[in-house]
């Protein structure tokens, strides 16, 4: 059985485990939906009062907001094993169990838990994205649709890279590092707004050092037909995959180092 098929097997097993307690699951889902919905309600109120912010309409902001939430929701669905790595695997010694199995550690951690809870964020992100598309003129569908999927893929790669980096760092501290949440939850917050609202240094940092802008802001500008460098913007989501590749290398180094130091 190849890696992807095995991952699907893991996902199915995890789902059946979660569905054992449907009541708890529904409550969690509802709670999650309510929290994220509040976020967009605040933006809506803001725009209702001022109309536009630095030339951005509420429909345009909805596009950014929807995209980054979809990206992060999908990442959380598959990346939970990395998010919880320090606390659930390193501290408990459960990581040894993964090493005892003849499969790549990354595959096993991706399969650790296929979570449904982020589906609340996903549904909400999709709804807001649809709202944005209804309110905002964008480029024709044959460009917009593939570009959107490409941007989502790049964004998932980027956020997954962040979670893998967080997990690799926790070999040093044994705990999951809360500070990395600046990049995950903080990244989602930052990506919800057009980047030109931010200070120049922050924009640079978030585009080149940490390629959040490359997977959210730039491709969405291309979709709106507002990008000053359409070609570069179209290719930008590849930066998410490059970031993921670097984090995977770092992960391999950290696992190797861990085997030398023991726990």
């Amino acid at each position: 059985m190849n890696g992807f098929a095995l991952w699907r097997r893991y996902a199915r097993a995890s789902l059946s485990g979660q569905m054992r307690y449907p009541g708890a699951f529904l409550m969690q889902m509802a709670g999650h939906l309510a929290t994220t919905l509040m976020g967009f309600a605040a933006i809506w109120v803001l725009f209702h009062r001022f109309g536009t912010v630095r030339g951005w309409t509420v429909g345009q902001v909805a596009l950014f907001y929807g995209l980054v939430n979809i990206q992060f929701a999908l990442t959380e669905t598959i990346g939970y094993g990395f998010e919880r790595f320090g606390d659930d695997f390193l501290r408990t010694g459960a990581f040894d169990r993964l090493l005892l199995r003849p499969r790549w550690t990354v595959l096993q951690l991706l399969g650790h838990q296929f979570r449904l809870r982020p589906l609340a964020r996903l549904a909400q992100g999709a709804a807001i994205l649809a709202l944005g598309l209804a309110l905002t003129p964008v480029r024709p569908l044959p460009f917009t649709l593939p570009m959107m999927l490409w941007a989502i893929a790049g964004g998932v790669a980027f956020f997954l890279g962040v979670l893998i980096g967080q997990a690799a760092l926790s070999f040093r501290t044994i705990e999951s590092l809360e500070i990395v949440n600046v990049l995950t939850y903080g990244g989602v917050e930052a990506g919800q707004y057009p980047f030109d609202l931010y200070a120049r240094w922050f924009r640079r940092l978030m585009t080149y050092a940490i390629p959040l802008g490359a997977v959210s802001y730039e491709p969405m500008l291309a979709i709106m037909g507002r990008s000053p460098h359409p070609m570069a913007a179209t290719l930008a989501p590849a930066a998410g995959f490059a970031f993921l590749a670097i984090m995977l290398l770092y992960w391999q180094v950290a696992v190797r180092r861990h085997a030398s130091t023991g726990s």
């Binding site: 059985m1 098929a5 095995l6 097997r9 893991y10 097993a13 059946s16 485990g17 054992r20 010694g93 459960a94 040894d96 169990r97 090493l99 005892l100 199995r101 003849p102 499969r103 790549w104 040093r172 501290t173 085997a259 030398s260 130091t261 023991g262």
Partner: protein, 342 residues
């Protein structure tokens, strides 16, 4: 059906851990990130361990806590890489060829579950089938046989979290053997189990070795495990091999002694002890004796105590316990025989 001879060769294995000696407290965690003069302490876990295990044998690895047993097991399982030394298991270097290596061994940790806590036992087995790429026909025969011999049928559909410890250990054994590994490593497989469960697990391990020719390496603190299973015993202490001998030799030399503890309703009598019996310091109304059953049988010794005539008014004997030396005793005796180096 072992697909390769699981010969284990371990040569001059060395491993030490660097331990940060940081003061307790919340600021200490932060200090781990600062480029300071971090006070490291090096602890040698293995100081040159050498042994070879032939395919199809059962070997017991014993030693006190912290002796290095777990480190050996972790290295042989491919989890840990040693500082120096050579290890091959069936021709593979465990840590360097981990993915191939772990596909050919089974490992059971008594203290740690390999199964999925929330999943029914059988679902976990099916997942392991896919993880280990066990061909379906082979899986079906293996599973049927393991379910039967380990008596798993009653709880196959229960989540692992609901199993008793004895049931769980049986499920763990099955889980480690679904892919028919020629080598099974067991780390304290009977820890915490009740007597019937222990007996069942020992019988299963013995049959597995006899019928399938599976090579078995086990660590334990229970001398009965060793006695029931191991043909050969490797004693590890302080990171070294203190003894490596057939079990019979170990039994004849170190394990032959017994300790008798007698309590009296009053002060214990003073006796003239026969040859082969030594008196240990004891307090109050008890008397502790070490004796060699080859020289004086336990009933004779007890007889001697019941009719102890030495004192003026002999106190009646109230209770007698006879114990065998614990692994800790064995190790300390080895230390007396083999003076440890620096």
């Amino acid at each position: 059906m072992p697909s390769f001879p699981a010969r284990i060769v371990v040569e001059d294995l060395r491993k030490s851990y660097r331990v940060a000696t940081r003061p307790p407290g919340s600021r200490a965690g932060l200090a781990a990130w600062l480029p300071s003069r971090r006070p490291w302490r090096t602890i040698a876990a293995l100081r040159g361990v050498t042994f070879t295990i032939e395919p199809g044998t059962i070997t017991g690895l014993i030693g006190p806590n912290g002796a290095g047993k777990s480190t050996v097991i972790k290295i042989l399982s491919g989890i840990l890489r040693p500082e120096s030394g050579r290890v091959t298991v069936g021709g593979l270097v465990p840590w360097a060829q981990r993915l191939r290596h772990v596909g050919r061994i089974g490992v059971v940790f008594g203290q740690r579950s390999q199964l999925w806590w929330d999943l029914p036992v059988d679902d976990g087995f099916a997942l392991l089938r896919d993880i280990y790429r066990v061909p379906p026909p082979l899986y079906r025969t293996r599973r049927t046989r393991l379910v039967e011999t380990l008596r798993l049928a009653d709880f196959l559909d229960q989540p692992v979290r609901q199993l008793s410890l004895g049931q769980r250990m049986r499920a763990e054994l099955a889980a480690a053997l679904l892919h028919a590994p020629p080598l099974l490593i067991l780390d304290e497989p009977t820890i915490g189990l009740d007597a019937p469960s222990k007996l069942a697990i020992r019988a299963f391990i013995r049959d597995l070795n006899r019928q399938d020719g599976t090579t078995i390496l086990l660590t334990t603190h229970d001398m009965h495990d060793i006695e029931a299973l191991a043909e050969r015993v490797i004693v590890i202490g302080d990171g070294r091999v203190l003894a490596d001998s057939p079990f019979e030799t170990l039994r004849a030399t170190t394990l032959s002694g017994r300790r008798l503890i007698a309590s009296f309703d009053g002060p214990p009598p003073t006796l003239a002890l026969p040859e082969g019996v030594t008196r240990l310091p004891a307090t109050g109304q008890t008397l502790a004796l070490d004796f060699d059953p080859a020289r004086i049988a336990a009933p004779d010794l007890i007889g001697l105590l019941t009719q102890a005539g030495g004192s003026a008014a002999p106190s009646p004997l109230a209770d007698v316990t006879i114990t065998r030396p614990s692994i800790e005793d064995v190790i300390s005796r080895f230390y007396e025989h083999h003076a440890p180096g620096p």
